[in-house]
Amino acid sequence: MKELPQTVFVVDDDDAVRNSLRLLLKSAGFSTEVAASAQEFLSTYDAAQPGCLLLDVHMPGMTGLEMQHQLNVRGAAIPVIFITGHGDIPMAVEAMQHGAFDFLQKPFRDQELLDRVQRALTRDTEYRARLRQTERIRERLASLSPREREVLDLVTQGKANKMVAGDLGVSQRTVEIHRAHVMQKMEAGSLAELVRMMMAVAPPQ
């Protein structure tokens, strides 16, 4: 599957800061989109767009923290780098607790910014790859027959074919056939790989 290009989103109400960031990011080769307010950003943002977000904490209207909350509600997992001024450390801590990727204190050195942006984009790539992986696993799981699903659940609990046969009241031979279908449909090369797939899609504890 082809990756969409990554975009660095900048949300800052200060024109100079916003435009200078755009220029700096552009000079470093990043594709950039800017917004002057949280509302403006949220009205156009598509969670499918990969990238990261540079977000000013202090903004009139919706603050950076409130916007982060909105993103969390939407389930948008874009990594957020907060930009803070002096003395905003408590706010930064709160942002981090709510899943912010990082924060930067104004004014900052370009390399510091670019390094963090790069790390955030890498995280986003990995995250989206993981997301696609679990989606594929779910698709494969959905293709299993009810009996195959039962066999899968029992073998991933560590039960031998003989015990699975006993549990389901079928012959051991039947279990072996179902199990072969499961491995094939799930595209799993080994039992260990199958267990990892199931863990990846298991709901978090």
């Binding site: 200060d14 100079a16 800061v17 435009n19 200078s20 960031l21 220029l23 700096l24 552009k26 000079s27 470093a28 202090h58 930009i83 001024g85 002096h86 003395g87 104004k106 004014p107 900052f108 050195r109 370009d110």
Partner: protein
């Protein structure tokens, strides 16, 4: 029996005293109206009878003997002297009168006239007086203030219930003893004595006030505010003093608590103002500074490529200068803010201003494990300043001084013995007031010394670089200069010289 002449009788009726005239055998010759009223006999009934009927049983027995002895050439017991005697009313009740007896001149056989002054009335008057006293006593005791009267020597002559209660003593433990020695807290006795002296010397009846502690029998001191007057006799000589005192211990305690709380709040407010101002300024300034950093860093990146986009770089550089001007504008606004702030210049004692913030500064010292010392000259002229602003500057300088030393100690990794900040005041040769804050820290390196007053220059990891700049603005607004000199033997010394107030001051 020879009756008195009519004009004598007329005279008798005119006197208020009872008058009885008797002959040498004790027979009553005249009995005036007052006598009728005193004894309950009508004159007609009394005249002719023996005067002893007016006497008590004991006197009756001896009366005739006294008269005989006198007539026989003996000494007179009553004659010409007068004394209190008990007499007997017609109804049998006995009462005392003041009796003076005289022999009527040229009477032969001798006649005697007795004047009986009704001490019964005097007693009644005395009883009324007593009643009056009791009522006064009641007033005294009902009074919600302590009442104490002393004589000229400070010996207590009167004291009321309220005073007993405050002093937790009985009447006997207070009365007829020296007030100051007995009831006043030892440290305040001199004040108490002086106030009594002052009152006694005062020419008029104007009450005078003073405050001192009394000591209760259990050792507790109560703070009393007194109003006193001198008690003068009719000749205008002060005979003693009367004090009324109100126990204001609890009130004072509450006031002092409230005062302390207010002071704490004020101190916090002052610090907060400075801190908030610095935070607000730093946020304001961060915007253009961040933009300048971004633009200039972008420029250097844009120029790194083989064929740079020159118009783009030029436009970014244009933005850099715009943002630098914006930062400058913010600074200008801050300066004018500090200058135009509602400056309330008042005549102040610089030492008092320092003492007011001393507690707060000392707590700053404790935070840094240091010591704050004061060396205040007593011979300072007054200055006309905005006290709060000058105190802000002081706090800023002292805070810097402690930070400089603790940073140095952290760097050097030892706890050098001397770790203190000294606030000193002294009059300059020109007669102005110099205030200095010196420390024993590392002092300033030459290059740092040049920049120390520049806005945003800081040697501190978390500094805004504005403290000294604002401080200098404040001092400059007071027509003075904030300066730096090296401290001896080492360390930094910041000082400012405030012009002495021009107007002569009492």
């Amino acid at each position: 029996m020879i009756a008195p002449t009519p004009d004598v009788l007329a005279l008798l009726e005119a006197t208020f005293d009872a008058v009885v005239i008797m002959d040498d055998r004790g027979r009553i010759l005249a009995f005036n109206e007052s006598a009728e009223a005193m004894f309950g006999y009508r004159a007609a009934d009394a005249i002719g009878r023996n005067v002893s009927m007016l006497m008590t049983a004991t006197d009756r027995l001896h009366h005739d003997d006294h008269v005989k002895r006198y007539l026989g050439g003996g000494d007179a017991r009553v004659l010409g002297k007068g004394r209190d005697v008990w007499v007997c009313h017609r109804d049998g009740s006995e009462f005392s009168v003041f009796l003076s007896v005289g022999r009527i001149p040229n009477s032969e056989p001798p006649q005697f006239v007795g004047f009986l002054h009704d001490t019964h009335l005097r007693r009644k008057a005395l009883a009324t007086l007593d009643h009056e006293r009791q009522r006064n006593r009641l007033y005294l005791d009902l009074a919600q203030v302590m009442l104490v009267a002393t004589d000229r020597n400070g010996i207590v002559q009167l004291v009321n219930q309220r005073a007993f209660r405050v002093l937790k003593r009985t009447n006997a433990e207070i009365m007829n003893r020296n007030w100051a020695d007995n009831c006043v807290a030892p440290d305040d006795r001199a004040i108490a004595r002086a106030s009594i002296r002052t009152l006694l010397l005062s020419a008029n009846d104007e009450p005078q006030s003073c405050e001192y502690h009394v000591r209760a029998s259990d050792g507790e001191d109560r703070f009393i505010t007194w109003r006193g007057v001198a008690l003068h006799d009719p000749d205008g000589v002060a005979r003693g003093i009367m004090l009324s005192g109100e126990d204001i211990t609890d009130q004072r305690r509450a006031e002092s608590e409230a005062h302390k709380a207010l002071e704490r709040m004020n101190s916090v407010a002052r610090l907060a103002t400075m801190g908030e101002m610095a935070a607000g300024i730093s946020h304001e300034l961060n915007q253009p500074l961040a933009a300048i950093a971004n633009y200039s860093q972008a420029c250097s990146r844009l120029l790194r490529v083989p064929s740079p986009d020159i118009p783009e770089v030029a436009s970014a550089l244009e933005q850099v200068s715009v943002q630098a001007l914006r930062a400058g504008e913010i600074i200008r606004r801050i300066r004018s803010l500090v200058r135009n702030e509602d400056v309330r210049r008042e005549t102040q004692d610089m030492n008092d201003l320092i003492r007011e913030v001393h507690a707060l500064l000392a707590s700053d010292a404790r935070v840094h494990d240091g010591r704050l010392a004061l060396d205040l000259s007593q011979a300072l002229p007054k200055v006309k300043v905005d006290g709060v602003q000058i105190q802000q500057v002081l706090m800023n300088l002292v805070h810097n001084a402690f930070e400089a030393q603790s940073n140095e100690i952290n760097r050097a990794g030892h706890s050098g013995g001397a770790f203190e900040v000294l606030i000193a005041t002294r009059p300059t040769p020109e007669g102005d007031v110099e205030v200095s804050v010196s420390d024993l820290g590392p002092g300033l390196a030459g290059d740092v010394e040049q920049k120390i007053f520049e806005p945003f220059f800081t040697t501190k990891a978390t500094g805004t670089g504005l403290g000294l700049a604002i401080s200098r603005s404040i001092i400059k607004a007071h027509d003075a200069r904030l300066g730096y000199r090296a401290n001896q033997p080492h360390g930094a010394c910041f000082f400012f010289v405030l012009p002495a107030q021009q107007e002569p001051h009492p």
